[in-house]
């Protein structure tokens, strides 16, 4: 099953591209055709991978770091810190992530940075919950107590004794969030709030294609297909990962 990650790597090939941009009338000579400005769709698709996937990666990793830290603070910090963090998490969760992202990105003005900010701010909560849960259960483990007695700083304890146990579960959460980020970035791109033209990005490509829906309907198919394939691949990989971890737990 993990072999399905293959198609994920294939589109992400920014080197094997011919001249990416050229102004000309629409035609069907290029492998996937050209868009309204004569740009080769295939190339845009491949370059777009860097944006749609790359940004999604950045966003999900930021969420991972922020969420983990927050979750650990809740687990290690004492009852008041825990309560405060949990309420904050609830507050952020009280909102459909995408709508919040739309609001934030919209208000901050379109552009890559507001996109990253909006999606990160709405994406850290799941990690925090998981990190907190695991952190709380680890707190009473023998070796954690020993480490504290040995005089290790809280940071060192977190680094050496908490983090390794967190990694498996957090990775599973991350795969899900990565997929969501891809969907989120292209959604915001489609709404015009995300990456700006002429940068190729799958969502914005769909937006462009929509205008010409009647004349060149095929144009609409490719970017969407790219998104679907990637998200599907990641989700499947994530499921496989989750199953693998579960069996390890039973065996170990």
């Amino acid at each position: 099953m993990v072999a399905i990650v293959g198609p994920l790597l294939a589109p992400y090939d920014p080197t094997a591209i011919n001249i990416p941009k050229r102004l000309a009338a629409p035609s069907a000579e290029f492998p996937l055709g050209t868009d309204a400005l004569g740009r080769d769709i295939l190339s845009r698709l491949l370059y777009g991978a860097r944006w749609s996937l790359g940004l999604a990666l950045v966003v999900s990793l930021i969420g991972l770091c922020v969420g983990t830290v927050i979750g650990l603070v809740a687990a290690l910090g004492g009852r008041i810190a825990d309560w405060a963090v949990m309420r904050t998490t609830d507050t952020f969760l009280a909102f459909p992530e995408l709508v919040a992202a739309v609001v934030i990105a919209g208000l901050m003005g379109a552009g890559t940075w507001s996109l990253i900010f909006a999606l990160s701010v709405t994406g850290w909560m799941r990690y925090a919950r998981v990190a907190r849960g695991i952190g709380l259960s680890l707190r009473t483990r023998g070796y954690v107590v020993q480490a504290k007695l040995a005089g290790l700083s809280p940071l060192a304890v977190a680094r050496w004794h908490y983090l390794p146990s967190l990694v498996p579960s957090l990775t599973v959460v991350w795969t899900g969030m990565f997929a969501r980020a891809i969907l989120g970035i292209s959604a915001l791109g489609f709404l015009g709030f995300g990456v700006q033209p002429p940068t190729p990005e799958w969502g914005t490509m769909l937006l462009d294609a929509r205008v010409h829906m009647r004349s060149t309907p095929l144009q609409m198919v490719w970017p969407g297909l790219a998104v679907v394939t990637c998200v599907l691949a990641i989700n499947l990989a994530g499921d496989a990962l989750r199953d693998a971890l579960a069996t390890e737990e039973h065996a170990g």
């Binding site: 459909p96 992530e97 995408l98 709508v99 609001v103 959604a187 709404l191 769909l206 829906m213 009647r214």
Partner: protein
Amino acid sequence: MTRTLAGLLLRAVVVLAGTALITFALLWNAPGDPAQAIALARFDALLTEDVVELVREEAGLNTGFWTAFWGWVGPLLTLDFGRSAVTGRPVWPDLWTSITYTFPLALAGLAVGLALALPLAFLATRRPGGVVDRVAVAVASLGAAIPAYWLGLLLILVFAVHLAVLPAMGARTPAHAILPAVTLGLGVAASLTRIIRSGILEARGQLFLPALRRRGVAPGAIGRDHVAPHAAIPVVTVFGLELAFLLEGTVMVEVIFGRPGLGTFLVDAIEARDFPQVQAVVILMALLFVTVNLIIDLIYRAVDPRIGAHDA
């Protein structure tokens, strides 16, 4: 019981307050001059420095943060959403109109989703691991990966453009709602199928079921009295989460199909920097969310001891 209720209510209030604060802070600190944006939306060609100043004062944008915040929250507690900074009309009536468009659509989408998911999940679990089951899971996974806007576009392409069977844009007739509802429903069905399926499988796996069968309890009765209630619990809980997706999806679908509703209301308000309107939508959604989650929490706790189910 009252203690838990009080605790949950307190949580809900805190969460709402937090949301209100964050939203307000966000709007307040958004880059760009909101007064200009509002003035532009209102007066367009007549834009001069004086007009901008006038707008600024009218919208209360030149007061301090906390004054403005209380100026908003105060009336809010009496359900007064204020006036639109752009049109000067009260926010609530327009907001309400949007809701009357969005709500039915969301329900329709949910109905479509359930209509697809329930039978599918049932069929799938008749023979776990069998052909139907695996196809169902595959289709559900695929469905979860498809972005709503793409699906919407494709549906428009096929049904509205090529086959010219159904209308695409706008909301003039009930027929206009078919494509959007289906788009929504398919997405919802994808996640619901998986959830219901695993809920049923888990409920089936309960240890006391074989004992019941041996005692001669009819399979129908087992399904009705023991499997269904237990399966319902996780389904109900996740329902609260699904609401988020439903809301997101509806907003997205409205924008795609050019329908009036909360989605377009929000997007337009954002672009015009119409603070009161944006705030109203945000707080409304948060309120909806928190309330639904609260209810689900209560249902969960009430149902729990009766069935003797374990904690999620």
